[in-house]
């Protein structure tokens, strides 16, 4: 084990050994969730601040549970009703929080690069919990953990990511992590929602769902943000669902052991039919469960790291 980083900012930064260490550590953390007393004393006396500038229930709760199971004190700093509304800058808020000596700041922000900016200015560890359309590394790690757990390995697997790749930090982090781990990635979606020059990331682009999912070991469906329709990216939600929604009929054309993933929250009946979301191939709830374990591993490794900015 050789975790040397002060911060976790992106999957692009991590090499295969680091990702492997994180996943191995997360796997051992899972056992704690099955205990009657779900608490270990490891991070006693450490403080984790959740600094969320964007709405989030799942990710924030997941970090909160992860910290608490490790005995850290977790403080949620939500932006509504806070100084940000009174016009304080991100950096000023962060400096004020740092004056209270946290060990880890978990940050979500609508601007890409906001966590990297904080990491440069703060002495404590910074975790990116989603920044704009850039990255969401802990989501990619929990996805990789889920795939590795179900398939036994990552190397050589074929993953197809379907939907709004252009606006998705989940897709970007996953593509980076999956390429590093030796996986083949196809992205599929309407041309308006696939970024230009996407091939430069080392992925195959497809504009036909049936063709994209036929040989996939894993299908990752992305959430269709309703704002996209107003933005003119798709003609209508119904049309999108008809062309890009994963239904039982389409699933029957897939590999027999295919995994269906979704970062949540699911738009039932839009990108995933309810029968598929709740069906035998869906691992959506495993992803949520693994999310806590991955965040425990991240908090554990970062609080031990002596690296400085």
């Amino acid at each position: 084990m050789a975790w040397k980083r002060k911060d976790l900012l992106s999957m692009q930064d991590l090499d295969a050994a680091e990702i492997g260490d994180l996943l191995d550590t997360a796997e051992t953390m899972k056992e704690i969730a099955g205990r009657e007393i779900k608490k270990v004393p490891t991070l006693r006396g450490k403080t984790v601040v959740n600094l969320f500038y964007e709405a989030s229930t799942r990710t924030r709760t997941s970090f909160e549970i992860a910290g608490k199971w490790l005995s850290a004190d977790v403080i949620n700093f939500s932006v509504s009703g806070s100084s940000a509304e009174k016009g304080e800058s991100l950096l000023d808020t962060a400096k004020n929080i740092e004056a209270m000596s946290p060990d880890v700041v978990v940050v979500r922000h609508k601007a890409s690069g906001a966590p990297a900016l904080l990491a440069r200015h703060l002495n404590c560890a910074v975790v990116n919990a989603g920044d704009g359309a850039h990255e969401h590394p802990t989501q990619a790690l929990l996805d990789l953990l889920t795939i590795r757990e179900k398939k036994g390995h990552l190397d050589g697997l074929h993953v197809t990511i379907v939907g709004d790749v252009a606006h998705s930090r989940v897709a970007r982090s996953n593509i980076q992590g999956m390429k590093t781990m030796g996986m083949t990635v196809t992205v599929a979606g309407p041309p308006t929602l696939i970024p230009a020059a996407c091939e430069n990331l080392g992925v195959v682009v497809s504009h036909r769902l049936e063709e994209a999912i036929a040989h996939a070991d894993v299908i990752m469906m992305l959430r269709l943000q309703h704002e996209r329709m107003q933005g003119g990216f798709i003609p209508s939600v119904r049309e999108y669902s008809r062309v890009w929604g994963l239904t039982v009929a389409r699933l029957q054309q897939c590999r027999p052991e295919v995994l269906i993933m979704h970062p949540g929250p699911v738009n039932r009946g839009v990108e995933l039919s309810p029968e598929v979301a709740d069906g035998p191939y869906s691992v959506i709830l495993d992803q949520v469960k693994n999310g806590v374990a991955v965040r425990m591993a991240v908090l554990y490794l970062l609080t031990g790291s002596k690296a400085t900015t």
Binding site: K4, E27, M29, I37, G304
Partner: protein, 182 residues
């Protein structure tokens, strides 16, 4: 720093005899073997616990359950090292409530590992009794901890290392004392 072998203290035969004696002592002291469970401390303690359980089975025709404990998350020196130690899995697939739990480790030294192991065990429930079995007690305790079953008492100097080698990990059963080459 490199180390050289100083003395061999146990070989395949004497190591096996020590475990056989520990198994008999555990059986003798427990009112009923059904109450006994063994929990080995990773990694070699787990192997020793499994071997002792097999010996108890040979004596009593009942094999006590065997668990494995990784104490990393309970260490008292976290944050003092350059990086976090690797966490390995803990597998205790039985209830410890009301049982006689025998913790098993290869070498008892400062006692800090055992302190951590007892804390970890308590998080799984309330055993009736916790006892401690070690293959080697090398002294230099830093906490008020005392083993109940000892394979070999071994006075050592602090600068020496006690190396326990087991077939399952090292291809051979033996215990040696090593000293620094200087």
């Amino acid at each position: 720093m490199t180390y050289r072998d100083k003395t061999q203290v146990l070989d395949e035969v004497t190591l096996d005899r020590a475990l056989t004696r520990i198994a008999h002592e555990i059986v003798e002291q427990a009112q009923s073997v059904d109450e006994v469970a063994l929990v080995g401390i990773k990694t070699r303690g787990e192997t020793l616990a499994e071997r002792i359980a097999q010996k108890i089975e040979a004596i009593e025709a009942v094999k006590p359950p065997v668990g494995a404990l990784d104490i990393t998350l309970y260490r008292d020196d976290l944050g003092l090292k350059a990086e976090q130690p690797q966490v390995r899995s803990t597998e205790i697939n039985f209830s410890v409530k009301g049982r006689i739990v025998v913790l098993v480790d290869d070498v008892l030294f400062t006692g800090r590992t055992i302190r951590a192991a007892m804390d970890a065990l308590m998080d799984f429930g309330r055993p009736r009794i916790i006892r401690l079995a070690v293959l080697v007690d090398r002294g230099h305790r830093e906490l008020p901890i005392r083993p109940d079953y000892i394979g070999k008492n071994l006075p050592t100097s602090r600068r020496e290392i006690v190396a326990v080698m087991l077939r399952e990990h090292d291809g051979i059963d033996r215990v040696v004392i090593r000293e620094p080459e200087d």
